[in-house]
Amino acid sequence: MYDNDQRPARRVVITGLGTVSSIGLGVTAFLDGLRSGRSGVKPITAFDTTGFAHANGCEVTGFDPAEWIHRVDATELGRATQFSVAAARMAVADAGLTPEELRARRALVSVGTTDAESRDLDALVDVELREGPERLPATVVRRAQAGRLSTGIVRELALTDVEALTLPTACAAGNYAIGSGFDAIRGGEVEVALCGGADAVCRKTFAGFYRLGTIAPEVCQPFDKDRKGILTGEGAGILLMESLETARARGARIYAEVLGYGLNCDAHHPVAPDQDSLARCMRIAHRNAGVKPQDIDFISAHGTGTRANDVTEAGAIRQVFDAPPPTVSIKSMIGHSMGAASALASAACALALTEGFIPPTVNHHETDPECGLDCVPNVARSTELNVVQNNALAFAGNNAVLILGRHREAQ
C-alpha cells in the first residue's frame, strides 16, 4: 500500500507472538523450550525415509489444526499454511486484540517461506507417478500455492483492509517479511502487521540437502568442532507488530522494539555464502537501526551447523565486531525450519529481551576454534539485554539481518 505521503516515522513494537515449533506450540511452550534447551529432534515421519542412511528431523508434533483454525476448512490449507494461520491466531490472541479490533485496522500480512506447500507438490508427484497427471486431486492442487501462506491468514481472520504478501526468499524469508512489516508501520502505511515465516518438512528439500552431504546424522551442533550439518525442521513464527503509539494507547504488553534491518545479495554463488557480503549486510542493518556493533548484546546466528555456514558466518561476525558478543543458534534445538527459521528466531530474540536471558546452543561439546565464538553452550544464560541481532542467510546469497531492542517505558 505505497503512496508518497510524507508522514513522520513511527516507532515499531512487537506486541504479539505466535509460534509453532518442534519444541512447543504457543509462546509459553516455546519460551520454556528455549530456556531449558529442549531439543525437537526425532525421526522424520513426513515421508517414507527408506533408502536414506539417516533421517532425523525436527517435526512439529501434536498439532491439531482444529484447535487454531476455525473459519477456514483446514483441509483446504496445506501443512505450511496451517502452521502460518495457527501462528497468526496465536499472535493476535497473545497481543490481546479481539478479531473486531484487528479488522478495524489497516493491515499488512507478510509471510516468508522456502518451500511453501512443496510437501503437497511432493504428494502430487507421487500421484502422477502412480496414476498419471490426469488424476491430480483438485483440493491439493489448489492449496499448493505459495500465496496461500498469507491469504490463508487473511481468510481465517476475515480481514478486509489488508495487503497479503508472501515472500519466498528461502531460508532468510522470515526476516524479509518482518522487515517489510517494520517499514509499513514505520511509514504509516498500515496500523498493524502480522509477519513471519512458515514451512513444512518435505521430501524434496531433505533429499536435496542430503545429496549435498549437509544433513547431520543425529543432532545439529552449530559452531561445534564436530558439527555434521543441518536437520530439516518445520513450523511457523508470526509476530504482531504495531506502532508504539497504538500499543501504548491500548496498554499492550510490549515484547521488543524493532529497530531496523538490512538486506543484501552476495550475487556470487547459488549456495555458498560470502563472508564479506554477509559482513556488509550486518553493517547495513546496524546503520538502518541506528546502532553500533558494541551495542549488540547477543547475536542469534543463522548457525545452520554446516561446516561452511558456521565458519563463514563467524568470520563475518569477527569482521564487524572487534569483540563479538555471545552468538547462539536456536537451530540446535528446533532444526532448520527454513522460511520459518528467522521468524522463530526473531520471536526467540523478542522473548530473550523481555525475559532477560540468552537461549543456549545445545548439543555442544567443543567449540570449533575456526568459529571461535561464545555460543552459550548447552545452558541458557540470564542477563540483562538491550539490543540483539538476528542473522539469516539464504540460497543465492540473500542475506537479511534484523535488529531488535528492549522496550523501556520513558521515565
Binding site: 495487503e163 524434496k204 550475487a267 540460497f395
Partner: protein
C-alpha cells in the same frame, strides 16, 4: 522525497523478447496465443501463449545455462533487456540497486522434477545437486542477481495473479525504508507441462478453457530526480498501490471499487483523469465483476481498456506485471502525459484484489 517513477521497462512475452515486440503486439491488439505442438508442449492444453523460440541457451548464453530452468532464463533475460536499455546504469552501483521479482511457486516443473528423481531413482537421494537451487523458490531472483551482479536487496514475491502488484508495492516500500537507491521490479512465469496440469486441475470448469501464457516484465523504479540525472524518461509516476480482501465472489466488485476509490481519494486523482485501465480479466464471472468494480469507482469516466489476457493467455504470476507493461506500451516513448492517470487491477481467486495507480510525470 522525490516521487518514484517508472523510467525504463522490458518485457519477454509471447510476442518475443524485448519491449518493442511487446509494444507492437499490444498496441495492435494482436493475439499471440497459438496452437501448441503436443511433442514439445505436452499436457492438457492445445493452445497457449509461449515466448517464440525462447531458451536459456539462445537468449541468455551457452555458458552457465546448462541447468538453468525456463522461468529463471525468462527473468535473467528480462532483467538483461532492461539493463541494456539503460546502458547498464542501474548496476554501476550494484550495492544500491534492489531486485524484486515475482514468481508463482518458483518453477513447479523444477520442484516436481526434483522430487520425481527422488521417487524414481535407485536411491531417494539420487537427485542432481546442481539442480537443487532450481527447486527453491528464490532461484529466478537470485540467479538474476548473480548473472547481472545486482548486490542490493534481492526479494522474491508470490501472490498469484496479484504478484506483479504486490512486487511493486513491496519495492516502493523497500525504497521508502531507505534500503536501496532504485529497484528493478517485476515478475516472470514459465510455460511448463507441470504448471499446465496444475492449472488445469486447480481451475473451475468455467475457467478451464483459457489457454496459458508465459513471460515476464521488469521495471526500473527510481526517484524522479535520479531519473532526470541519469537521463531516463519518467514514463509514469507510481502514485499508490492498494489491496483488499473479499469473502464470497459476489464481494469482488465492491472490494475492488473500494480499493480504487481509496487510491483515487488518497492521491487526489479525479476519476476522469484515469485514461487507461489494464484489468486482469480472469475467467468465469471474475472479469465482469472486476470491470464493474472499476466502473463503479470511475463513474462517468470513459477510459481506454487494455485487455491483455485474450492476447497473451493466462500468464499467472506475470499477469499484473505484463498489464503494467501494457500501460507503458500504450503510453508510448514519452510515457503518460501530465494530468493523465492509469490503473492496473487484479482479482486473485484466493480472496484478494489490488490496484496500482500511475500518473504522468
Amino acid at each position: 522525497m522525490s516521487p518514484l517513477v517508472l523510467s525504463a521497462w522490458s518485457a519477454v512475452s509471447p510476442y518475443g523478447v524485448g519491449a518493442e515486440p511487446f509494444a507492437r503486439g499490444i498496441t495492435a491488439g494482436r493475439c499471440a496465443v497459438g496452437p501448441l505442438d503436443p511433442a514439445t508442449h505436452p499436457g492438457p492444453f492445445d493452445r497457449g501463449g509461449v515466448v517464440p523460440d525462447f531458451s536459456a541457451r539462445t537468449h541468455v548464453g551457452k555458458k552457465g545455462t546448462r541447468t538453468m530452468d525456463r522461468v529463471t532464463a525468462l527473468a535473467v533475460a528480462a532483467v538483461g533487456q532492461l539493463l541494456e536499455s539503460c546502458d547498464g546504469g542501474p548496476v554501476r552501483q550494484p550495492e544500491e540497486t534492489a531486485l524484486v521479482l515475482g514468481t508463482g511457486s518458483g518453477s513447479v516443473q523444477s520442484i516436481m522434477d526434483f522430487t520425481r528423481d527422488s521417487f524414481a531413482g535407485e536411491r531417494p537421494y539420487h537427485v542432481d545437486p546442481a539442480r537443487f537451487p532450481n527447486a527453491v523458490m528464490n532461484r529466478a531472483a537470485g540467479q538474476s542477481a548473480i548473472w547481472h551482479r545486482i548486490k542490493g536487496p534481492n526479494t522474491t514475491v508470490a501472490g498469484g495473479w496479484l504478484t506483479g502488484l504486490l512486487a511493486l508495492s513491496y519495492a516502493a516500500r523497500l525504497h521508502r525504508g531507505g534500503h536501496c537507491a532504485r529497484v528493478l521490479c517485476g515478475a516472470a512465469e514459465e510455460y511448463s507441462e507441470q504448471r499446465a496440469w496444475l492449472e488445469w486441475h486447480g481451475r473451475s470448469a468455467a475457467e478451464r478453457a483459457t489457454p496459458l501464457g508465459e513471460g515476464g516484465a521488469v521495471f526500473l523504479l527510481e526517484p524522479a530526480e535520479a531519473a532526470r540525472e541519469a537521463g531516463h524518461p519518467a514514463l509514469a509516476r507510481l502514485l499508490t498501490t492498494r489491496f483488499r480482501a473479499y469473502g464470497a465472489e459476489s464481494e469482488v466488485r465492491a472490494a475492488l471499487a473500494a480499493c480504487v476509490r481509496d487510491a483515487l481519494k488518497t492521491t487526489g486523482v479525479a476519476p476522469g483523469d484515469v485514461r487507461l485501465v489494464a484489468p486482469l480479466g480472469a475467467g468465469g464471472e471474475s472479469a465482469a465483476l472486476e470491470e464493474a468494480g472499476v466502473g463503479d469507482a470511475l463513474g462517468a469516466a470513459d477510459p481506454r481498456w487494455i485487455r491483455c489476457r485474450p492476447l497473451l493467455g493466462d500468464t499467472s504470476a506475470a499477469a499484473t506485471s505484463l498489464q503494467l507493461a501494457a500501460v507503458l506500451a500504450a503510453a508510448g516513448a514519452d510515457g503518460l502525459a501530465p494530468g493523465e492517470a492509469a490503473l492496473v487491477t487484479g482479482v486473485e481467486r484466493d480472496g484478494t484484489v489490488g490496484c496500482a495507480l500511475l500518473a504522468g510525470a
